[in-house]
Amino acid sequence: MAPDPVTGGEGFLTTRVDAVLNWARSNSLMPMPMGLACCAIELMAMADPKYDVARFGSEAMRFSPRQADLMIVAGWVSYKMAHTIRRVWDQMADPKWCIAVGACASTGGMHRCYGVVQGCDNFLPVDVYVSGCPPRPEAIIHALMDIQEKVRNEYTAADDSGSGDRRPEPAPLRPRVLTPGGDRVISPVALYDQENL
């Protein structure tokens, strides 16, 4: 019998904890399908018997943000909905990833109009953008594979344990916000008090 190609016949293998963790994580991504519009239908098709996303370990769609680690935003995002999406995103446990499916979620797409946020990266950190209107299920699966690759290459254990290098301080997120009254910093309180802005 030829020696086992993985363990080399020794019966064990050595690796880093990070690598194992990331490997496990990447093959059991739990998507939270933020299905909003037409792209959500193709997202459903991704889970159907023909495309079968279960091959990638992501068939368990979780509609509760606490159980999910991958948000798939599929469809155009209106201003009214954006706050809900952000709130759901904030409730997801770290580490988490985000895919913007379709032209609308990526850039606003054909809906260049007052109601639509021109790309959900205006308020979400998006990892993978998928082009298409709607993208075919293959393309969404490809995005999922990109996320898997990203997860496998991430170096996270040191951060998690706190013993390795500290995670660098995040850059200031949005240093300045343009307001109608000029480059002023605004507070949420002022937001709803338009007269005193």
Partner: protein, 439 residues
């Protein structure tokens, strides 16, 4: 930038404060701010758990078929009051229509009822053709009709798959998607896209139906009745399905009319109103089909109406296939002022190129100062477009009468008095598509 401490964290996340307040005021509940209360509970406040409870369902909830938000006030398990909030997909397509040419706007109609895009394309094109007085060649009409009926089947299939998944039967979802994939393949062969087809053109259709697509449709028509029979065998006498549907969400004849509901919801309550018969468009007066009607007005009768409709659609598809064998001829009007010239003309003649350019730039111009309305029977009900023209190539006002909008309006009445456990069935049974309702 003001930093938010843990204490006032929920205060900051309170989005659309005035909107939520109005919604809760609508519920007339003394415990309205249960979720986002201002400040801690006072001593004399009533205990929310004692009698009533305010529950927010959606906009991100798997059973709401999109982004529908229902704020309900519960007494025990009974819904006392329900306030439905839509508009989470509002992007202003009526506003966009005023800034696009008639032909340019057609792809936007795909994105309204994205479960049956072809029916929307046809609806818009017919409305523009009515406003501009364009007659469509016969073959194009038959193809439009054939594809509209196929899209009706796709829409009802997704209603069924998702509706049954809500009731707990995930396998039906997988079965219906198998047939949806067949239909998608057909659309792919005919139009080049699976979902957003954009195949209909003003004055005809974009391309003739290829032979391999005809073969696929024939195979589907031969295969599908078996599937329906199987599902009916499974569901018609299924104890769980009957228990969850019979007597749930009953609407009488008077109620559906008063609430303005359309489509299968109307026919499920015994009103034989179908635009295909009421004001026949395309060639619906030349084919033989019946309008399924049920009298009970509950979820089960609406289920039966939709199942029967799929069979009737198959019947129409068969007749269209028969007709397409004999009806030959052009698929678009041969008038470059009213419809796109064929690609052959565009590539090989100067006039064709100029016409193509002009049509893209200006397009068809209905007479000045007129308006007209054309409705089609989309899978969800009466889908009508009202077009007012100022004589230019863009509509002065395009009003969309979306069937889901009318149907969701009935949802509020349907929910009040029902049990919270039936909520998913009630949302499923009216079959809303929010992209259409939210315009």
């Amino acid at each position: 930038m003001s930093m938010i401490s843990k204490e006032n964290f929920s205060e900051t996340l309170k989005f659309w404060p005035r909107h939520n307040e109005a919604l809760y005021r609508r519920l007339e509940s003394k415990n309205s701010w249960l979720e986002e209360r201002r400040g801690p509970r006072e001593k004399g406040d009533p205990d929310p758990l004692e009698n009533e409870m305010v529950l927010n369902i959606g906009p991100q909830h798997p059973a709401t078929h999109g982004v529908l938000r229902c704020a309900v006030r519960l007494d025990g398990e009974t819904i006392e009051r329900c306030a439905v909030d839509i508009g989470f997909l509002h992007r202003g397509i009526e506003k966009m229509a005023e800034n696009k040419t008639y032909q340019e706007y057609m792809p936007y109609t795909d994105r309204m009822d994205y479960l049956a895009p072809y029916a929307n394309n046809v609806g818009w094109c017919l409305a523009v053709e009515k406003a501009a007085g364009i007659e469509v060649p016969e073959r194009a009409q038959w193809i439009r009709m054939l594809m509209s009926e196929l899209s009706r089947i796709t829409s009802h299939l997704i209603w069924m798959g998702v509706g049954l998944m809500d009731a707990g039967a995930v396998s039906v979802f997988l079965w219906t998607f198998r047939y949806r994939e067949d239909l998608y393949t057909i659309f792919d062969h005919v139009c080049g896209a699976r979902l957003t087809v954009s195949h209909s053109r003003i004055g005809g259709i974009a391309s003739d139906i290829p032979d391999d697509a005809i073969d696929l449709i024939e195979a589907f028509v031969a295969d599908f009745p078996d599937a329906i029979r199987g599902w009916e065998k499974l569901l018609n006498r299924n104890r769980i399905w009957i228990d969850r549907n019979v007597g749930v969400g009953v609407l009488s004849r008077e109620e559906v009319i008063a609430l303005g509901m359309t489509g299968p919801n109307l026919r499920g309550s015994g009103i034989p109103h179908d635009i295909r018969v009421f004001e026949p468009y395309l060639k619906y007066d030349e084919v033989d089909f019946t309008v399924p009607v049920r009298e009970d007005g509950d979820c089960f009768s609406r289920y039966h109406v939709r199942m029967e409709e799929m069979k009737e659609s198959l019947k129409i598809v068969r007749q269209c296939l028969e007709k397409l064998k004999t009806v030959r001829g052009p698929i678009r009007v041969d008038d470059a002022k009213r419809s796109y010239p064929s690609k052959d003309e565009v590539y090989y003649s100067m006039e064709g190129l100029i016409h193509d350019f002009m049509y893209t730039d200006t397009g068809v111009c209905p007479p000045r100062g007129i308006w007209s309305y054309h409705a089609v029977e989309a899978p969800k009900g009466e889908l009508g477009f009202y077009i007012q023209s100022d004589g230019t190539g863009r509509p002065f006002r395009a009003r969309i009468n979306a069937p889901s909008f009318s149907n969701i309006q009935g949802l509020e009445a349907l929910m009040e008095g029902a049990l919270i456990g039936d909520m998913v069935m009630l949302i499923g049974t009216i079959d809303p598509v929010l992209g259409e309702a939210d315009k």
